[in-house]
Symmetry: C2
Subunit: 414 residues, 2 copies
């Protein structure tokens, strides 16, 4: 039967990260049971917290008849209220339930937000390296063009006015109207938080160029470094500009399988449009109720987040030490589940093709999946992201394998 | 800030059924507590089964660590397998997990299916009266045009070849390319099942005109009349044509708040496209696990469905008797949660404006929300859909109020 043109376009969709994820899932490493299996350190998931969450998740959800029937399709009111309280604490900024839309994951949130914000073919500036999934989220259904603003290793991957301006100029050359700027803070894949000074510069830039600000703060509560995280929700209000804040339960709560995301927006019309679209992308009341049970237990949340931070900090220190011992240079991690590391001295040539070759070498020889910088639009080849929020035995085995795989290659001086 | 044209279009969206639903939800009738509240019989939900489901829903879901992480975004394999077993039994046709896509409700399923099947502006024939939400599902994001095939009260609302042909001719006059035909069986709002003969005629018509067949069988297990339901999944296979079957947990399982729907398709490319789109519209693994726990308990399912049928049958008989006693003619109900009734003798004029006037009169004077036939594209004014799957006290009160509201009006001979 007939397949539409828009449908046919999707058949060519290629998501390397997702593909490798499922390859590893079919034959996963386990210390004793399957010592030759794949180790997947390419997916940003927190595998350190299930024991804490388990009793909460497996208690009776306490569903009432009302939960089995229709409720607001952009999130039950009682759930949005509890989430507003949580996000107010997290961002140090008063967030209200009426400005929240809950939907089936942060990809769904971005899809809807882009629908509301951009005509097809228009663009959004994203400082690079950036989360690889943004390309998919922006391009697939809503046809919005991500415009990378390339930060530089020589400048410590800082977002500067010059970097943003270059992106705007590039978009202009491609005749793409830019509608907004998307910041990920804490950042994926860098694992760092942005200083207040940088964020203020971004706000000023957005204001000057009439760009909407979208702030993906999915890792807000997974910060363990010396610097604390500052929410753009607070700073934008102080500056008198609007904000579109994306949050979700995948990262801070280790619940990527729950597919629950949220948008907080100060723009009344964006809110109305996204509420309309949320009709197609709702979160089950059952899942909302389980998450509500977690959110309303303040003592549990305090314990959970402090323990989570300790575990992430310990795991981060462990992997940095191991990698450095193996001669691999790492970018300091302050937040998130990843270490951004420099393997450029093992590239056969200073190119992204050579980076992909190195990626495949590590995947095939070492059976470890890490992510090559090019999928994050890294400006220079040779950087990789490794997700370390796993048990030490696994990290130990993985780094040994990577080290061995690299050892089989000739080191080139960069 | 800028709002896109496609976003702005949504701001004009108007869904009368959804709006009235939430109006009633704000001030709901309760026999003793709020005797003057609104009674909402406009929403197709089953309010008769929560007591049976409650122990299942409120048991520990038994979530394991894997459920908290990413799984197939078109439904966990183990869940799709269990659902395939259930649907094979329901449709008397072998349904396999690899041809199933699970997503956040049947509106999401239709949205994705239409994306894959039609270019924007193309059309789908739907025998009318039809579920009012189809207009919203088809038009909102994917811009597909529903083409009503008007059945006639004089011919017992039968779908005939003539009726389908007229729709095709109408589409041609509007220069709309028709890609498929969408059948709801058991039917909403009629509450009837289609004979095998009618379904065979539809298949032949689709084949002759190269139309894809979409069969919404959401009420497959809510059948209690003398005639049994026949799935188009079985008949299409026998006829050697493809099928796109839409199912969900909202109706047969009384779980509209769980927003879990599924597509079974025999078309490999449609499957691939919808799998891609399902990335944005997944169902939480937590909800899938709760539904899995229900689906894998065969003894429970047998008890649940037989009890559900008994309760629906009793409630249907009760409402028909009450309505007929009040002088209201009803169309026989064999399935579903609704009675299709004829209030045309109370219309002030034989027009849809008068029908809306009567609707508002009953809503404002009687504080009962029922649905006027025009939202279902009824061919003739004066028909209404009343959802009766509620406790007898509520139905009793509602029919008394409707009767009183009608009594205040002059009857016109039709």
């Amino acid at each position: 039967m007939y397949i539409s043109k828009r449908g046919t376009k999707l058949l060519e969709n290629y998501q390397p990260l997702v593909k490798a994820h499922f390859l590893c899932a079919e034959n996963p490493w386990a210390a004793n049971v399957n010592p030759d299996g794949y180790i997947n350190l390419g997916t940003a998931e927190n595998h350190l917290v299930f024991d804490i969450l388990k009793p909460k998740l497996n208690a009776s959800p306490g569903l009432e008849e009302s939960h089995t029937h229709y409720a607001d399709l952009h999130g039950m009111k009682v759930f949005r209220e509890q989430l507003a309280t949580f996000l107010s604490g997290t961002t140090s900024h008063q967030i209200t339930a009426d400005k929240l839309v809950v939907a089936s994951g942060s990809s769904a949130i971005l899809d809807m937000l882009m629908y509301a914000m951009c005509e097809p073919g228009e663009g959004i500036i994203i400082p690079a390296p950036y989360y690889a999934g943004f390309d998919h989220d922006l391009k697939t259904r809503v046809n919005v063009e991500p415009i990378p603003a390339y930060t530089e290793v020589e400048n410590d991957f800082k977002i500067t006015q010059e970097v943003l301006l270059q992106a705007l100029i590039q978009a202009g050359k491609r005749k793409i109207k830019v509608r907004g700027i998307l910041i990920t803070n804490p950042n994926n894949p860098l694992g760092s938080v942005y200083s207040e000074q940088t964020l203020q510069m971004i706000i000023a830039f957005a204001k000057e160029n009439k760009l909407s600000i979208i702030s993906d703060e999915l890792y807000a509560r997974s910060v363990f470094g010396k610097r604390s995280y500052t929410s753009l929700a607070r700073l934008t209000e102080e500056a008198g500009v609007g904000i579109n804040l994306v949050y979700g339960f995948a990262k801070d709560f280790g619940l990527s399988g729950f597919k629950a995301g949220a948008l907080y927006t100060t723009d009344e019309k964006i809110l109305q449009v996204v509420q309309q679209l949320a009709y197609f992308m709702p979160v089950s009341n059952a899942t909302q109720k389980i998450l509500y049970n977690i959110l309303q237990d303040e003592a549990f949340l305090n314990y959970y987040f402090s323990e989570n931070q300790l575990r992430l900090a310990a795991a981060s220190e462990f992997v940095h030490t191991k990698l450095n011992e193996a001669g691999i240079a790492t970018y300091p991690t302050e937040a998130g589940f990843f270490v951004w590391m420099n393997l450029s001295k093992w590239l056969s040539a200073y190119s992204f093709d050579a980076e992909m070759e190195l990626y495949n070498h590590i995947l095939e020889t070492g059976k470890v999946n890490i992510s090559p910088g090019q999928v994050f639009h890294s400006a220079t080849p040779g950087w990789f992201r490794l997700c370390y929020a796993r048990k030490p035995e696994m990290i130990n085995e993985a780094v040994n394998r990577i080290s061995e795989a690299l050892g089989a290659l000739k080191q080139v001086s960069v």
